[in-house]
């Protein structure tokens, strides 16, 4: 049921009238939340940005879900990046010390190697993720959308009572 719903959402998302730019921006912002530890203060800001900016919320949700699934695999890498930034890069130390002594800033847990490492990584990958997803949506809509729509499995899924039911429920909501 969950996976059916999930596949339906992706299908709906890619076939929606939203522009590739909106979808890509939503996806890129969602990837930040997905890659970094969920319960962090900076994620509250990203959430607000997703709601306030004219970006695709389903694309952001999709990115959060996908990135969250695989983020833990990169934890050792994030730890490495965070440790190097916090401990090894000497010229940044006064900045971290200043930040550590400021109110509110420590609540972001920037002093945690995985939090900082994942946040910096997600910021660096933000632009490439944005463009990659944008070009993927364009390419999909131009070359793949029709073929996917004609796939038997898609017809079965979209024609199934269950999917129609899900669709109805979603429309009503």
């Amino acid at each position: 049921m969950f996976w059916l719903n999930f596949l339906g959402k992706i299908f709906k998302l890619l076939h929606s009238d939203k522009t590739p730019r909106h979808l890509a921006a939503g996806f890129a912002l969602g990837s930040i939340i997905g890659l970094t530890p969920f319960l962090s203060l900076h994620n509250l800001v990203i959430f607000c940005l997703i709601f306030l900016l004219n970006v695709s919320i389903p694309a952001a949700t999709f990115a959060m879900f996908v990135c969250e699934l695989f983020a833990y695999l990169f934890d050792p890498f994030f730890h490495e990046v965070g440790y190097n930034l916090l401990v090894k890069v000497e010229f940044l130390k006064p900045f971290w010390t200043q930040l550590y002594s400021m109110p509110i800033a420590p609540l972001t847990k920037f002093y945690n190697t995985v939090v900082l490492g994942s946040f910096v990584t997600s910021l660096i990958t933000f632009i490439p993720v944005y463009f990659a997803f944008k070009y993927f949506v364009i390419y999909y809509r131009l070359h793949l959308a029709e073929k996917v729509e004609n796939l038997k499995i898609v017809k079965i899924i979209s024609g199934s009572n269950l999917f129609q039911l899900v669709k109805k429920v979603q429309i009503k909501m």
């Binding site: 530890p37 004219n54 934890d75 010390t97 200043q98 002594s101 400021m102 509110i104 420590p106 609540l107």
Partner: protein, 645 residues
């Protein structure tokens, strides 16, 4: 921009804050319970918890921390705890508790429910030590009287036993054989020297037969003699090398034969084991029986040590990288007015219990200062000084200094427990321990020290007025179990000295007790004479086998040695003859040389005399000639000198 989204986001945030406000107590309770349970490894209950956000005070109605070593008792139980949280550091994400006041506190109070939670085997060296102790109990020897009766008959035992002495003697015999073959070859080579000696002999004969005609023959003869002497020395060296090697090898074999006594000792122990007669003198029964229980008692300290040694930051400036910790590694940046992430400045236990409360009769007084997650940042050591007493006069006295503010941290805890009723302590279930301890008091003195890479726990447990009762029968007729039971039933006091030392994660445990001697003595009392006789019988038999094999081997060694020596002596004899001959010839040559020298001297003297005579004659003639010349007339007129002038 979706400005309308603000209408959604703001109510959501307000909803979130309202939710937080209503569920804050539950969240704080959950966080207190979970963090304490993780640290202690037993059930922790804290209810009701109330957080007043305006006065920043947390009130805990009742706090119960289960004793992880006896989950039917609470380590601490307290009512009405008030925690005063300092507001400002919360903005930095830091929790600083200025003071916790405890008025009603019970130590070691009984629990209504079992406070056990599922914990896994302790990791690391302590886990390994636990494993070893588990094996120790299983290794306590079992002794069935029927089996013992059968085992006290030596012949059937010997019939199924292969003596190590025999096997090792066979090995040495093999070595003797190998050595004999090797030295037969070496001695055969030495036989070749016989030919050299014969050749030398011929040369000496030839030397002797060549007469010395003139003095000029002496020098070549000397050279020849020296050359023959060199050959003799070479042959002697060869013999000496052979003899030294031969004797060294056979002396080594003698050492091997002497070492057979070790094999005999091994035979003795093996036969004792086969007879299932344990050597009780070397078995640490106290460790096997009580080691596990005491080791578990130390879990609080070892856990603390493991945690401190992995957590305590050596350097805040550039802390070493942890091996990918789950959830990341938190780095501190010390600066001005930087708080530790958690700090409880002061806990005071007043010692004033509420009248008519359930805590009547309990007494606790003390202070705890400086509990913190980052001691280096706080800069002051943690000090604990607590005394607690139960209505039954059982007391607990803790004095501790945990100074983790410097890289060379030092922690020291003294913990004394006294008047502890032993019947309340649950012994591990096994056939050796009593089903019930009727009465008894325990006193435990613990000294725990921790420095980087090292910790030491010393625990002295004194048990007094013990009355051990056994209700259940032992299912098998196990003499050892019977003896242990008898010993434990018979004692009314004992002491256990336990020491656990960890150096760079390598753990060493020692448990000493008078129980070991008591059990061994009782064992000797029960089986006494019979067992000693049997032991002596085994020892005699083993010694007899040893002597027999030693004699056989030594005889063979001596025989081979004598054989070889005979051959060497024969060659040495031949060489000695030639040496003697050589010396004789040398003496003859010396004599001949002297003879020639005499002749030369005579000739020299004769010639000298002849020369002297000729010289004198010539002088005389010259004188005469001069005299004649001087007699010429008128010659002396020119001079007045006499002819003698």
């Amino acid at each position: 921009m979706r400005w309308k989204a603000i209408l959604v986001v703001i109510p959501l945030l307000i909803g979130l804050l309202i939710g937080l406000f209503f569920f804050k107590d539950l969240m704080i309770e959950w966080s207190i319970v979970n963090s304490l349970q993780t640290a202690i490894g037993a059930k922790v209950e804290a209810h009701p918890v109330h957080f007043d956000p305006f006065s920043l005070t947390i009130t805990i109605g009742n706090l119960q921390i289960t004793n992880p070593n006896n989950t039917w008792r609470n380590l601490i139980e307290a009512d009405n705890l008030k925690l005063g949280v300092v507001g400002k550091p919360l903005l930095w994400g830091k929790t600083v508790i200025e003071e916790i006041n405890v008025e009603d506190l019970i130590l070691n109070a009984p629990r209504k429910t079992n406070g056990k939670i599922k914990i896994y085997r302790l990791p690391g060296p302590l886990g390994a030590a636990q494993e070893k102790i588990n094996k120790d109990i299983a290794e306590i020897p079992a002794l069935n009287p029927e089996v013992l009766k059968g085992n006290l008959n030596l012949e059937p035992l010997l019939a199924r036993y292969q003596f190590k002495t025999h096997l090792d003697a066979k090995v040495i015999n093999g070595k003797l054989e190998v050595s004999k073959q090797k030295w037969d070859e070496n001695l055969a080579k030495l036989q070749e020297t016989k030919a050299k000696i014969a050749e030398l002999h011929q040369k000496l004969i030839a030397f002797q037969n060549q007469p010395i005609q003139t003095a000029a023959d002496i020098k070549p003869k000397y050279d020849l003699l020296n050359s023959l002497k060199d050959q003799t020395i070479a042959v002697q060296n060869q013999i000496n090398t052979t003899v030294t090697g031969y004797q060294t090898e056979f002396n080594q074999l003698k050492t091997d034969i002497d070492y057979l006594k070790n094999s005999a000792l091994a035979d003795y122990h093996a036969l004792m084991k086969l007879a299932k007669l344990p050597s009780l003198e070397s078995f640490n029964f106290a460790q096997a029986l009580f080691g596990r229980a005491i080791l578990n008692e130390t879990a609080l300290f070892t856990g603390l040590a493991d945690r401190l040694q992995t957590m305590v930051p050596i350097s805040l400036e550039s802390p070493p990288k942890e091996k990918h910790p789950r959830g990341g590694q938190e780095i501190s940046f010390p600066g001005q007015k930087v708080y530790p992430r958690l700090l409880i400045k002061h806990i005071s236990i007043s010692g004033r219990s509420t009248p008519d409360s359930k805590y009547k009769g309990y007494y606790a007084k003390g202070v705890v200062n400086g509990i913190t997650s980052e001691p280096v940042l706080y800069g002051e050591p943690m000090l604990i000084k607590v005394f607690g007493q139960a209505p039954n006069k059982a007391y607990l006295d803790i004095k501790a200094t945990l100074d983790n503010t410097k890289p060379q941290y030092r922690n020291q805890i003294y913990l004394n427990v006294g008047n502890l009723p032993v019947p309340e302590y649950k012994l591990p279930e096994n056939k050796f321990f009593p089903d019930q301890i009727g009465s008894g008091m325990a006193k435990v003195n613990t000294d725990f020290r921790l420095t980087p890479g090292y910790y030491l726990i010393k625990m002295k447990i004194s048990l007094e007025d013990l009355v051990c009762k056994y209700n259940s029968k032992i299912s098998v007729d196990d003499l050892i179990a019977e003896i242990i039971r008898e010993t434990l039933s018979g004692i009314n006091r004992t002491t256990l000295d336990f020491q656990l030392e960890s150096i760079n994660k390598k753990m060493k445990m020692k448990l000493e007790s008078d129980l070991n001697d008591l059990i061994a003595a009782r064992f000797n009392q029960v089986l006494g004479e019979k067992l000693n006789k049997f032991k002596a019988e085994i020892m005699n038999r083993v010694n007899a086998e040893l002597e027999k094999k030693k004699q056989e081997l030594e005889g063979e060694r001596q025989r081979i040695l004598a054989e070889g020596q005979k051959k060497i002596d024969e060659i040495q004899g031949l060489l000695d003859q030639e040496k003697k001959k050589l010396e004789e010839l040398k003496a003859q040559l010396e004599n001949k040389k002297k003879e020639f020298e005499g002749k030369v001297n005579d000739l020299k003297n004769q010639k000298q005399q002849e020369l002297e005579a000729e010289k004198n004659k010539a002088v005389e003639e010259k004188k005469k000639e001069l005299k004649d010349k001087l007699n010429i007339p008128g010659f002396f007129n020119k001079s007045t000198a006499s002819p003698g002038n």
